[in-house]
């Protein structure tokens, strides 16, 4: 059975790569065919239900990069299965929906490539047992969602949103990678199943575990758009509706929640878990609905409610009690079903009427009956109406909050206020467009094609069915997932629609009552919110913008400063760097060379040295190029003389010949080059002079230090002296070295010469063509 988990992922990725081809063959119809792929995957996963409901798990193991400690390990337990079914199941409807929504688009094939790539990655994330493999899929979801969010790529806003999503989730992803690596180092394994089975208390007590926790949480929070990283999610609404529907219901954003749930048994043992995770979740929950109330765009409203739900789920996992986890799982399932449907409905409204403003649409129920029905079912679930799964979720949510110790009624108040707003927003998104008087819209409204309503309806019905018979989904899906999150199977979990007259039910009643009031006030809130729009600009998104532009500004400044285009600055940096390193490492214990080992001062060599020095100085100071090359010539001949005086006749001969030719070259070149110009100011010259003198001193010290170090082992040159005549038949050892001992050097050297000559020839001859070839400046 383990192979099935791989096969499911493989067929999805496979479908991704044939999608463009399929689109060329079948046109828009390819979407309907492609929808069968996630259906097949869903069937495969459904076949695992009995095994997993019975407490088992489906595992697959394969080596990948053992050298890096990477393995392709999959393990499907209750938690994974819940997600897998949602991803593949909703994937079917999204695929069909996209076929209608994006019909006639030329790049639909590529869209499916990304969508299926994303789907496969998502399946991979939730079925990975190896944290690094999970990370690999995690990054793949980031990059494929980048491509999906930027689908309308010619619009600058689309590109910016896609980039924002990528950067925010990417930052978190990399933090998470660091966390995973550190965790793996501490625990000695990257396998989730093994990690969760470890003695969590002992691991958590290790120094540095806080860093691991924070890093991994960063990954989860950015992905699940938790405060203060929430802003990318509403911006991602630039994406086409099917993408929003998929990414923000069951998949991308839930990945963070999934990770929290996945590592819950281990990480929640940390004393920091609850104080970090629960408040972050709570803030996000409230922030989401609060900002949602101010939106004038159906998709944005849904996006903010998504934010809120993600906050709720995070908060519940942060609380981490059995009741809270149970609530989280039910809530998660409910949200996935209704939110996917509602996004599709919102997309259909946009597609058919040309507007997404909730105040501009109304009374569409006659024009779009199926969409209306679907939206109603989903909206009721979202509002938490009895008999729908959303209601069950809310009940469990309240029950969990009531059961939470400490802080008095704080949790309940928070939970109820979020739910009240959620109710109002559900009504705005699902009731307002379809009921009431028909409002004029940019396009004449009519029902969307079947591909666009079949999904929402089935999802809505699923929510209803699961709400009516919670025992079925509860026993098969929820219970195993709760077991997986809590890391043990000894919780007796039964799910019921009716819990009797409880406090939770009372809170639900309060929620509905207040929700209706809020819904009626909603248009005024929306109208008023325009005045507070400026507040939105001060939030974390502003920080993101400032950070990004700050980084770019700093980078720009740095690059202009360092890469400033002045060759002399580059040279200066290099010489100073060299001098600094050499001075730093110049051995202090070395004294001047032993005077007995030195050759005593003699008249002629000293004069030659003085001549060289004079020549060098003159070359620097010469005002005309004629004197400059004369000075260079003096230096060259002087060096040749030194070679001659100190037993290097071959060297001296070559040096003098080369110098003579070099003079000829200089003269020839000067015919073609402008006269000496005098650019530098005196101050610059003095500064350069000091720096140059300093570098000269450093090099003198280097030579002295080397000489002071004493004699080297001379066996190599001794061998050369001894074998020169007997083995290489030459008395001139230098020449023998050049043509025999080290002939390869000489071969390289004449190659250099040949290249240089050819280069001179080519450069002198080949004139630039000021045509299209050379850049476009």
């Amino acid at each position: 059975m383990g192979q099935l988990s791989v096969i499911a992922i493989a067929i999805v990725f496979g479908a991704a790569f044939i999608a463009p081809w399929l689109h060329r063959r079948l046109g828009d119809k390819c979407g309907i065919v492609l929808g069968l792929v996630p259906l097949a995957a869903a069937v495969l996963y459904a076949s695992m239900v009995p095994t997993i409901a019975a407490g088992g798990a489906v595992a697959f193991r394969s080596e990948w990069v053992p050298s890096l400690g990477l393995a392709f390990d999959l393990r499907i337990d209750g938690l994974s299965l819940l997600f897998l079914l949602l991803i593949s199941g909703i994937g079917v409807f999204v695929t069909w929906y996209a076929a209608g929504y994006l019909h006639g688009k030329k790049d639909l094939g590529r869209f499916y490539l990304y969508l299926f790539g994303f789907m496969g990655s998502m399946l991979g994330v939730v079925s990975s047992d190896h944290l690094v493999a999970l990370f690999v899929f995690w990054e793949l979801t980031s990059i494929s969602s980048y491509l999906l969010i930027g689908y309308y790529h010619t619009a600058a806003r689309s590109r910016a949103s896609a980039l924002q999503a990528l950067l925010v989730t990417g930052t978190g992803g990399l933090a998470m990678l660091a966390g995973i690596l550190l965790l793996g180092r501490m625990a000695g394994t990257y396998r989730v199943s093994e990690l969760n089975a470890l003695d969590a208390a002992a691991l958590v007590a290790q120094p540095g575990f806080a860093a691991v926790l924070v890093l991994i949480l960063l990954g989860a929070f950015t992905k699940s758009a938790q405060f203060p990283f929430h802003f990318w999610l509403p911006n991602a609404m630039e994406a086409p509706a099917p993408v929003s529907s998929y990414l923000h219901s069951a998949t991308m954003v839930k990945a963070g929640v999934f990770l929290l749930a996945r590592l819950h048994p281990l990480l929640s043992a940390s004393p920091l878990w609850m104080p970090i995770v629960a408040p972050v979740g709570a803030v996000t929950m409230l922030l989401g609905v609060a900002m949602g109330l101010g939106q004038r765009d159906l998709k944005k409203i849904l996006a903010y409610t998504t934010l809120s739900v993600l906050g709720t789920l995070t908060m519940l996992l942060g609380i981490g009690t059995e009741a809270a986890v149970k609530a989280a799982m039910v809530y998660l399932l409910a949200h996935a079903l209704y939110k996917a449907a509602l996004f599709m409905c919102a997309g259909s409204i946009d597609h058919e009427t040309g507007t997404r403003d909730p105040d501009a649409v109304g009374g569409l129920r006659r024009a779009m009956p199926f969409t209306a029905a679907a939206a109603l079912l989903a909206g009721l679930s979202m509002a938490g109406f009895p008999a729908l799964l959303g209601f069950v979720g809310k009940e469990y949510f309240y029950k969990a909050l009531i059961a939470t110790d400490g802080q008095g009624a704080l949790w309940e108040i928070l939970g109820v206020s979020a739910s009240v707003a959620m109710f109002a927003l559900a009504a705005t998104a699902a009731w307002k467009p379809f009921f009431g008087p028909l409002l004029p819209t940019p396009k004449h409204p009519h029902e969307a094609p079947w591909t666009m309503w079949i999904g929402p309806i089935l999802l809505g019905v699923a929510g209803l069915k699961a709400g009516l018979f919670p025992g079925i989904s509860g026993g098969m899906l929820i219970a195993p997932s709760v077991h997986a999150v809590l890391g043990s199977a000894d919780h007796e979990i039964a799910y019921k629609l009716w819990h009797g007259w409880t406090l939770a039910l009372g809170l639900s009643g309060v929620t509905v009552a207040l929700g209706i009031v809020l819904y009626l006030a909603a248009p005024r809130i929306r109208a008023a919110s325009a005045r507070f729009a400026v507040l939105g600009r001060l939030g974390p998104e502003r920080c993101y913008e400032l950070l990004l532009s700050g980084t770019l500004g700093f980078a720009d400044w740095l690059t202009r400063t360092t890469q400033n285009g002045y060759l002399r600055n580059y040279l200066l940096t290099i010489f100073l760097f060299t001098a600094a390193l050499v001075l730093w490492t110049l051995p202090s214990e070395l004294s001047l060379p032993d005077s007995s080992a030195l050759i005593p001062l003699q008249f002629l060599p000293v004069v030659v040295c003085l001549l060289i020095i004079a020549g060098a100085v003159a070359a620097c100071l010469a005002l005309s190029r004629f004197y400059a090359i004369l000075a260079l010539g003096v230096v060259g001949l002087g060096v040749g003389m030194l070679f001659f005086l100190f037993s290097g006749p071959d060297l001296a001969m070559t040096q003098i010949l080369v110098e003579t030719l070099a003079l000829v070259l200089f003269v020839l070149a000067f015919y073609r080059l402008p006269l000496f110009s005098h650019y530098s100011k005196l101050g610059t010259k003095i500064r350069d002079g000091i720096i140059a003198a300093g570098f000269g001193v450093v090099m003198t010290l280097v030579v002295l230090a080397e000489m002071g170090a004493g004699g080297a082992d001379m066996s190599v040159s001794k061998f050369m002296g001894e074998s020169s005549l007997p083995l290489a038949n030459g008395r001139n050892v230098v020449n023998v070295i050049l043509v025999d001992f080290r002939a390869l050097d000489t071969l390289g050297e004449i190659t250099v010469l040949a290249i240089a000559a050819l280069g001179v020839w080519a450069i002198m001859r080949l004139r630039p063509k000021n045509t299209e070839k050379g850049g476009d400046k």
Binding site: L738, L747, A754
Partner: protein
């Protein structure tokens, strides 16, 4: 001053330099000299001609395209490393003829190598000087 005398003297000196360069090449294995020095001196001969009579004359006297000279020189130097390969020795292993020749002394592949060096250096200097000094480079 572009007199006949200058030209004649120039050519005479050039010829002497050429002969001297062969001498340097051949004795290089045992005394100061060798392919580099020899090549440079030989090139000096052509540079002299170029300076006194211009690039075209010097080019004509050289007789070979300097680029070809480069190629040939490199080929000779490289080829001198091949014989050893046939008897399973590494590239560039010196192979020697046992007989001692007059003037040359012992003959072996290193001498061939040095000749290659000589040709390359000659070609290189001529090519550079002709390019820098030639008219064909004017824009």
């Amino acid at each position: 001053m572009n007199s006949v005398i200058l030209t004649t003297v120039g050519r005479l000196v050039a010829a002497l330099l050429l002969i001297f360069s062969f001498f340097l090449l051949l004795r290089g294995h045992n005394l100061p000299g060798g392919g580099f020095a020899g090549g440079l001196v030989a090139a000096g001969a052509f540079v002299l001609v170029m300076l006194s009579e211009g690039v075209p004359t010097a080019r004509r006297l050289l007789g070979v395209d300097p680029a070809k000279l480069l190629g040939i020189g490199l080929l000779v130097a490289m080829a001198s490393g091949f014989p050893a390969l046939f008897i399973g020795k590494p590239f560039l292993t010196g192979m020697w003829d046992k007989t001692v020749w007059p003037v040359l002394g012992k003959v072996g592949t290193p001498l061939v190598f040095d000749t290659g060096v000589y040709i390359v250096v000659l070609g290189v200097v001529c090519m550079i000087v002709f390019s820098l000094g030639g008219e064909d480079a004017e824009d």
